[in-house]
């Protein structure tokens, strides 16, 4: 950088650093990896603000109501890639009314107007309509990436618009969306001249696809790296597709089930042996175990294996996973059981992320032998393990202490004991001590979900020790207001807090009102809040939006209710956009 203020030789002096042209700063900022760093730079002075905002290419809006779409377009005029998230996380579990909001339309319309050069659009937990997709297809001449995660509101008609309109599309990534099937053969609408696809994920689509059309599409898209099929593709067709795309890196097999036939087995085995670049594998496998050896040739190369929709179990499954020595990510059902996780522990030493999902979450009678033992084994033997999601039925403090000691490098620890209020099954004590060990040992912990029988004590530890914690999920825990107070008065880095069915009331919320503005959002449902506290909070903190949802009363106007009225659910978030105007009747802004 130039030497500021030098007067020695005026002709040769570089301009003072604070007078460098914007392009220099823009170039410097392009090396800042995190948006938060760019934001910090932009906040330091006007010229940096100007340079940063004009050169920002990627924008992540973590709460679609935190700012208006127009605010975003005005502030960052050169954005090429946008990600917007809508509904609160608990919408995944049905706790948010379907008409709550999170419409993508205002964002799509603002983008069409203000970001004509937009290349990437990603929506998560939002309502995306066919109109939105049509506008996208018509508005951005260089549109390349569409990613929709846990969205709803659109149909195959909208997908047709994308297929026919987006000439430069590279990625169409549909993850776990609710898509209406209009029986439109949308795949047919990719023109014959269209060859740019790199990612095609339609695994969540119900309904048939034309295999011949898919085959032709896969054949002509030579750069196709990710292909995730839906349930409509039978096994023998899968083999054919793989032959046409041996360069595939990520494969979702769709419904992998068929009666065992030797010739089909050999066909599959041969097809997979041609896929030398295959690294990531997923699928909804009602797999007949006898087919698993067809995959053996790719096991060694796999870094990511998602069997979380696979109901296959037993020794064949374990043998298969045991061959995947280079796994970094494993998502699996609890059908793997402790003995399967013991094999994972000994074979998959590069494992970084483990998720174990419940195969029968609502059926207590269906007992699968997956206990704390499995998690203890994996955390003891996998030195790079840093992210865990684990559903199980029993846990002990001792196991958690052991896990904490073995794996201080956890960044994400989510434990879900299926039955609420379950204590340590040996000592019958609350699991406070165990979870405290986790937060004390794992200094880099960013995300935590607690479960089981827990008192306020665990929250005292979390508040005091979890300095890097950004997201905390609490359910059926705590015994008094103190629990919430410990969290809100501690947890320096907390961004998202979601709480359900805990005896937390008004006092800690009001006492820590200022904290809420340092956070992205707070969700509290089935706790002990009253309308009066919500009113006070809203009055005290004008830059927070306090949304109240009361299901059993229907749409009773808040004005008619007293301060003492109990509140089912609140969702509080900071916003610069003021109160939103698209709430349904059951949601009211205080």
């Amino acid at each position: 950088m130039g030497r500021g203020g030098s007067r020695a030789s005026p002709a040769a002096a570089a301009p003072p650093w604070h007078a460098l042209p914007d392009e220099v700063w823009e170039h410097a900022f392009s090396f800042l990896p995190a948006d938060s760093d760019r934001g910090a730079a932009a906040a330091s002075c006007r010229s940096w603000l100007r340079a940063e905002r004009r050169s920002r290419r990627r924008l992540a809006v973590a709460n679609c109501y935190a700012a208006s779409p127009q605010d975003a377009v005005d502030r960052f005029p050169s954005v090429r890639a946008v990600e917007v998230k809508g509904k609160p996380h608990f919408a995944d579990f049905g706790l948010v009314p379907p008409a709550w909001g999170a419409a993508a339309a205002p964002w799509v319309e603002a983008a069409a107007d203000g970001w004509p050069l937009l290349e990437e659009l990603s929506f998560k937990r939002m309502v995306v309509t066919d109109d939105c997709l049509e506008i996208i297809a018509a508005s951005f001449r260089n549109f390349q990436v569409l990613r929709l995660v846990s969205c709803e509101g659109f149909s195959t008609a909208g997908l047709s618009a994308i297929a026919s309109g987006c000439r430069n599309l590279r990625e169409l990534d549909l993850q776990e969306n609710e898509i209406e099937d209009c029986s439109i053969q949308w795949l047919n609408l990719f023109p014959e001249s269209f060859t740019s696809l790199v990612t095609l994920n339609f695994s969540c689509l119900e309904g048939d696809v034309n295999i011949t059309v898919l085959d032709r599409l896969v054949t002509r898209c030579h750069n196709l790296k990710t292909l995730k099929l839906n349930n409509a593709i039978p096994l023998d067709k899968l083999a054919n597709l793989l032959r046409k795309a041996p360069q595939i890196v990520e494969l979702g097999t769709g419904k992998f089930s068929a009666d065992y036939h030797l010739d089909l087995f050999l066909k599959l085995e041969s097809a997979f042996s041609g896929c030398k670049s295959l690294r990531r594998l997923s699928g909804a496998w009602d797999a007949v175990p006898e087919y698993l050896p067809a995959f053996y040739c790719v096991c060694e190369g796999l870094t990511s294996l998602n069997l979380s929709y696979a109901t296959v179990r037993g020794p064949e499954l374990i043998k298969f996973i045991g061959r995947c020595k280079n796994l970094q990510l494993l998502w699996v059902m609890d059908l793997i059981e402790d003995r399967g996780l013991a094999v994972v522990a000994s074979s998959c030493n590069k494992l970084q992320e483990l998720r174990v999902f419940p195969s029968a979450p609502f059926d207590a009678a269906e007992q699968v032998s997956l206990t704390e033992r499995g998690l203890v084994d994996v955390s003891a033997s996998c030195p790079m393990l840093e992210s865990v999601l684990y559903f199980c039925r029993r846990m002990t403090n001792e196991a958690l202490i052991t896990i904490a000691k073995n794996r201080p490098n956890f960044t994400c620890f989510r434990l879900c004991i299926l039955e609420p209020h379950t204590p340590d099954y040996i000592t019958h004590q609350p699991l406070d001590v165990g979870f405290s060990a986790i937060v004390e040992s794992c200094k880099g912990l960013r995300r935590l979900s607690v479960s089981g029988l827990l008192t306020d004590n665990v929250f005292k530890s979390i508040g005091a020790h979890a300095d890097r914690l950004e997201m905390l999920s609490i359910a059926f825990a705590g015994n008094s207001d103190l629990g919430l107070h410990y969290i809100l008065s501690g947890c320096k880095s907390l961004k998202k807090l979601e709480i359900r069915d805990c005896p937390f009331g008004d006092k800690p919320l009001l006492a820590n009102a200022a904290k809420l503005e340092t956070m992205r959002s707070l969700w509290m449902s089935s706790c002990s809040l009253t309308l009066g506290a919500c009113r006070q909070l809203a009055r005290k903190m004008p830059r927070l939006s306090v949304e109240v949802m009361n299901y059993s009363r229907g749409a009773c106007p808040l004005d008619s209710l007293t301060d003492e009225s109990p509140i089912e659910t609140i969702y509080v978030y900071r916003t610069i956009a003021g109160p939103r105007s698209d709430t349904p009747a059951c949601v009211q802004i205080v």
Binding site: F90, L95, A99, T129, E178, F357, F362, L418, S526
Partner: protein
């Protein structure tokens, strides 16, 4: 929304959709709902859940995953509400009769619609619009839910639509059984 009591650790979760009764219920055609109506009139607060009631949305398994993992005996049909781009799925096989099914439908959309039990309607509290549960049968005809024996309905129902009352006047119940 139901809350588990502090001492519910002993009772196991019950499988099947068993939403806690809120104050409102729907009535069947011809069946007496006087008891329900009285209960509704008397209840103003959330009452504590029955010991075996399972909390809504627990365990935290994504709806998408929950639907994907149902066994093949399930009969999942889509449920649409007129005028809203929301799609929900309901498992007809998981309910033993119209009462349970209507309760589940109500629970799905309860936050926006509340039930008028006597008239078998759901009402949008904001607009006053009334919705009637209808379904598309195997022949592609739209019928009123509740007119045929439940088993027959489950077999022939392809999808469900909560139709605005004004449009549903054109539907007539089946006059003959097949």
């Amino acid at each position: 929304m139901s809350t588990a009591t502090a001492n519910s650790a002993a009772s196991p979760a019950v499988s099947g959709l068993d939403y806690d009764d809120t104050a409102l219920t729907l009535a069947l055609p011809g069946s007496s709902s006087a008891a329900d109506r009285n209960k509704r009139a008397a209840d103003h607060d959330d009452k504590p859940p029955s010991p075996k009631a399972r909390a809504v949305g627990w365990p935290p398994v994504r709806t998408y995953r929950r639907n994907a993992l149902r066994d093949d005996e399930a009969k999942l049909v889509k449920v649409a509400v007129d005028g809203a781009p929301y799609l929900r799925k309901v498992d007809l096989a998981a309910h033993d009769g119209y009462a349970a099914l209507l309760r589940a439908l109500h629970a799905m959309f309860a936050s926006c619609l509340h039930a008028d039990g006597a008239a078998r309607k759901l009402v949008d509290a904001a607009t006053g619009a009334e919705y009637v549960p209808t379904y598309e049968d195997k022949d592609g005809d739209w019928m009123l839910v509740g007119d045929v024996p439940f088993k027959m309905f489950v077999d022939s129902c392809k999808r469900i639509r909560l139709m605005k009352s004004s449009e549903a006047v054109n539907l007539s119940p089946r006059t003959s059984l097949r």
